[in-house]
């Protein structure tokens, strides 16, 4: 037997260790001796009782000498990427938005305006049904976004209704989400989407006074109150709410105030409301004039854990134990069965590349077929973390799997590069955070 390649060792303050396996998600607490054994290339199993050997092997902390764990990873990783089980489509219903958040539009000369017309709505429905039939997927998930998707509510509802009834007749599980700025979620709108949308994601930029400086209507008025009003309406309709909290250089210290306000409103008590923090990123040239707001990616590992800790104080769990990418993919479009379709009927594999014609991977024709499938799709899909030297040797390979392909494209001009920004040290911090939040009182008794 040998210690797993994917064991992460974390020294705890009392001379003990936490050992986390990134391939299996197993976590154990160990003393110096056991740590030595699990880190060894040649585990002397005679030093352990057979029950222990069994348990360690089951958890993937030790493996047979003949096992090439990278092969096992490769199998799981590719099986997941090419699985036909779950089809996912993100639909960019409209490029229009009723807000003028500076980080979104600053630096852009024109605002794109295209919305999906009725004919394209029909084509998209046909295309999705065609794809699901072709691949035999058992689950179909849909995310409607924009721009502000509620500016194209009729088209969105037509898609939701048609697909859910088709899925129902074909025995395919259907789930859908809406990514909205929340300002148009009135009672009437919530009634319309109720029963058709499972979750809505909203975005907050900080406490009210700060948020209202950034997330503004075109006339400059703030949106905080309007967004927060929509949350109880959604919850009454049984719709889950995901609050994305953007983290910038300016708002780090302000977020405690936001969490406090959200707690006062009772949102921390409701299991149907989840929060997550995401750093504002400089993802395209249009961002340049606001790049001063973006956190340097080397600081993520320091800043995000403090925010998770602040959130936890108010009852919001915002970070979890790292999960292998073949269970929870690092990218919504990593799977061969996931696509993004925009208002023009152009098909992409990445939210950050949407609208950039030279990066589209296909388009939907008048018959609702995916045509003009481009080599961009092959390049995106052929990205292989095992062929990136630093990923090949990384203990976080199973959870990160190379990271974001788009960020690699930005820095390396090719998808075939690594991106460690939201991984590596941050994953280590997630494990620490998980241990602290879950085992703080038990550390001493767990051997």
């Amino acid at each position: 037997m040998k210690g797993s390649l994917f064991n992460v060792f974390i020294a705890l303050c009392d001379g003990k260790y936490a050992i986390f396996n990134t391939m299996t998600g197993a976590l154990v607490f160990a003393d110096e001796d056991l740590k030595g054994i699990l880190g060894s290339k040649d585990v002397r199993i005679d030093e352990l009782d057979s029950e222990m050997v069994n348990r360690l092997e089951k958890m993937g902390l030790i493996v047979e000498n003949g096992v090439d764990e990278r092969r096992l990873f490769k199998y799981n990783y590719l099986q997941n990427r090419y699985s036909n089980r779950d089809a996912h489509f993100s639909i960019l219903l409209t490029y229009k938005c009723n807000l003028s958040c500076p980080y979104c539009y600053e630096g852009r000369t024109t605002k794109p305006e295209k919305s999906m017309d009725d004919e394209m709505v029909e084509r998209v429905i046909k295309a999705i049904i065609g794809k699901v039939k072709e691949t035999g997927s058992r689950n179909l998930s849909l995310a409607l976004y924009g721009g502000e998707p509620l500016l194209c509510l009729n088209g969105g509802m037509k898609i939701l209704r048609s697909l859910s009834s088709w899925c129902n007749s074909e025995n395919v599980n259907f789930k859908s989400a809406l990514i909205s700025n929340g300002t148009l979620l009135t009672r009437a709108t919530v009634n319309t989407i109720s029963g058709h949308v499972d979750a809505v994601q909203l975005t907050l930029d900080g406490p009210r006074w700060y948020h209202d400086r950034l997330r503004v209507f075109c006339n400059g008025r703030g949106t905080y109150d309007r967004i927060l009003e929509s949350i109880p309406l959604l919850r009454e309709a049984g719709i889950s709410v995901i609050l994305r909290v953007q983290v910038s250089m300016e708002n780090i210290v302000l977020l405690a105030e936001l969490f406090d306000d959200l707690k006062k409103k009772g949102f921390s008590e409701d299991k149907g409301i989840r929060l997550y923090a995401f750093p504002l990123m400089e993802l395209n040239p249009a961002c340049c004039s606001y790049s001063s707001l973006c956190i340097d990616e080397d600081s993520y590992e320091d800043i995000l854990p403090t925010i998770w800790a602040e959130g936890l104080k108010k009852g919001f769990v915002m970070a979890f134990k790292p999960t292998p990418s073949f269970i929870q993919p690092y990218c919504s479009f990593a799977s061969d069965s996931s696509y993004l379709i925009d208002a023009f009927g152009d098909v992409y594999k990445c939210v950050s590349l949407v609208g950039q014609q030279d990066h589209k991977v296909a388009r939907i024709d008048s018959m609702g077929r995916f045509i003009d499938v481009s080599f961009e799709l092959c390049e995106f899909m052929a990205r292989d973390p095992l062929k990136l030297e630093s990923c090949f040797n990384c203990v976080y390979l199973p959870t990160c799997s190379g990271g974001c392909a788009y960020r690699s494209l930005l820095s390396n001009r090719t998808y075939f590069g690594k991106d460690c920004a939201l991984h590596r040290t941050l994953e280590y911090k997630k494990i620490l955070f998980y241990i602290r939040s879950k085992y703080s009182d038990r550390l001493k008794v767990i051997e």
Partner: protein, 449 residues
């Protein structure tokens, strides 16, 4: 623009060449000037109209395109998607015949073992579990051996259970029985028919030839019994596949005789009937890609096929032949995998419930890649992951080869002793296939001038 790395150039006569693109499966006849222009990337010599055709057909590609990624994507897509789960079950390794070619291979399979009912139950549970785990919409069951009908009760037990289960789940079901035909009585066939979609038979040539090769343990030939079985199955609407072996001495007239016998039992023009011709090869032939002797034999056999196809067509068997490029029994089936069995969701199961990546080695424990436990779950050995994740895109000898999309790296399961000692001969083999295919399809175009 640049020339595709998957262009294969084959000289046809003094001044013309064929360029075949292995990735797209396209071919073009070019003169020496055009050949030089494409091979040397001197594209300024090509007129815009021709340039468009060359790009459209994949002979030329964009400068920044790495076609290896296209291949890798298609290879992975083919290998890892599990819309179909497929199980080849060997209820027994025994056989009531003693055909010499079956016993001449180097594998030395012990042929006495059969499955028992409990193991068959475990296997059935495994199939159901695995289909669910793979989230497949379609299930393919193959019954194979040995001679599976030596254990006809087990065949029925497994096929009935899977057939009913797939129906209750709304899954597509297709099952094929591969048999030597000698044990297919009306009673057995009637019992199996509701759960079997297709029967595969093999003929070794006309009666005299066949009986020399396929005989009972006592030496009596099986031809007439086999014909009865084919006829019996042919009376139903089941899919029928007849494989006709090409032996060293089988001539054109011999095939005509076989087809005449098949016509006499009503197979000509019968819907759902598939006919293919196949050189007799040792069971472990895939392992011997490097031997020059095997290559010479293969090259000779390839040449025979078009003549046989033409003859079969003239005799009215055209509808039963599936030999166009891309079709299963053609010279160029255009798969992205070296072997249909090395695919996620594809399993070969021997009578002891051991799992294999290849039917040729089923029954030889050292090649097994896992086993089915009593609760119907698989316990995989590391060799399973080694075999299934092996990719020719990682192999130094294959990753830049123009023929990669045709041969797909060859068999990665073959024993290491069989690794090419003096290089790969598959290029020559595939060049011959390409030429033969094209000459068959466009005889005047290729050899006309």
């Amino acid at each position: 623009m640049k020339s595709s790395i998957y262009n294969i150039c084959i000289q046809t006569d003094g001044c013309n060449s064929i360029i075949f693109n292995a990735l797209k499966g396209t071919s073009i006849l070019v003169d020496s000037e055009m050949k030089t222009a494409i091979e040397s990337n001197s594209l300024e010599m090509i007129c815009p109209e021709d340039l468009f055709t060359l790009v459209d057909s994949g002979f030329l590609v964009e400068d920044d395109l790495d076609e290896r990624n296209v291949y890798a994507f298609e290879h992975n897509q083919n290998k890892y998607s599990t819309d179909i789960s497929s199980f080849l079950v060997l209820p027994t390794l025994s056989c009531n015949l003693s055909c010499p070619y079956c016993y001449e291979d180097s594998l030395n399979i012990s042929r006495s073992r059969s499955m028992d009912r409990n193991i068959a139950e475990n296997v059935t549970n495994f199939i159901k579990n695995q289909v669910m785990e793979n989230h497949s919409r379609s299930v393919v069951l193959g019954l194979y051996g040995g001679e599976p009908l030596l254990e006809s009760d087990l065949c029925i037990q497994i096929a009935e259970s899977i057939s009913k289960w797939t129906m209750s789940r709304g899954l597509n079901y297709f099952s094929a029985l591969t048999t030597n035909g000698t044990m297919l009585s009306q009673e057995t066939f009637d019992k199996l028919r509701p759960f079997i979609s297709s029967v595969h038979f093999t003929l070794d040539g006309p009666e005299e030839e066949h009986n020399k090769m396929r005989f009972y343990k006592g030496g009596r030939g099986t031809y007439s019994d086999l014909m009865k079985a084919i006829s019996l199955a042919g009376e139903s609407n089941i899919h029928l596949t007849v494989r006709i072996h090409i032996g060293d001495r089988t001539g054109q007239g011999d095939f005509a005789k076989v087809l005449g016998d098949l016509e006499a039992i009503g197979l000509r023009g019968r819907p759902r009937t598939y006919l293919y011709f196949m050189p007799i090869e040792p069971k472990d032939e895939c392992f011997n890609t490097s031997s020059k002797k095997s290559l010479r034999r293969k090259l000779k056999n390839i040449e025979l096929l078009p003549c046989i196809w033409n003859m079969a067509r003239e005799l009215g068997w055209g509808e039963s032949l599936h030999v166009d490029a891309g079709q299963e029994h053609s010279l160029l089936p255009f798969s992205r995998l070296p072997c249909g069995f090395l695919k996620n969701g594809c399993y070969v199961i021997d009578p002891s419930a051991r799992l294999y990546s290849c039917p040729s080695v089923a029954g030889i424990e050292r090649y097994s890649v896992g086993s089915i436990s009593q609760d119907g779950t698989a316990i995989w050995l590391p060799s399973y992951y080694d075999a299934i994740t092996a990719s020719p895109t990682d192999a130094t000898a294959c990753k830049d080869c123009s023929h990669l999309p045709l041969c797909n790296g060859g068999c990665p399961v073959r024993p290491s002793s069989a690794q090419e000692p003096d290089g790969c001969h598959l290029k020559e083999f595939y060049n011959k296939k390409i030429l033969t295919h094209l000459a068959h399809k466009y005889p005047t175009l290729i050899w006309g001038t």
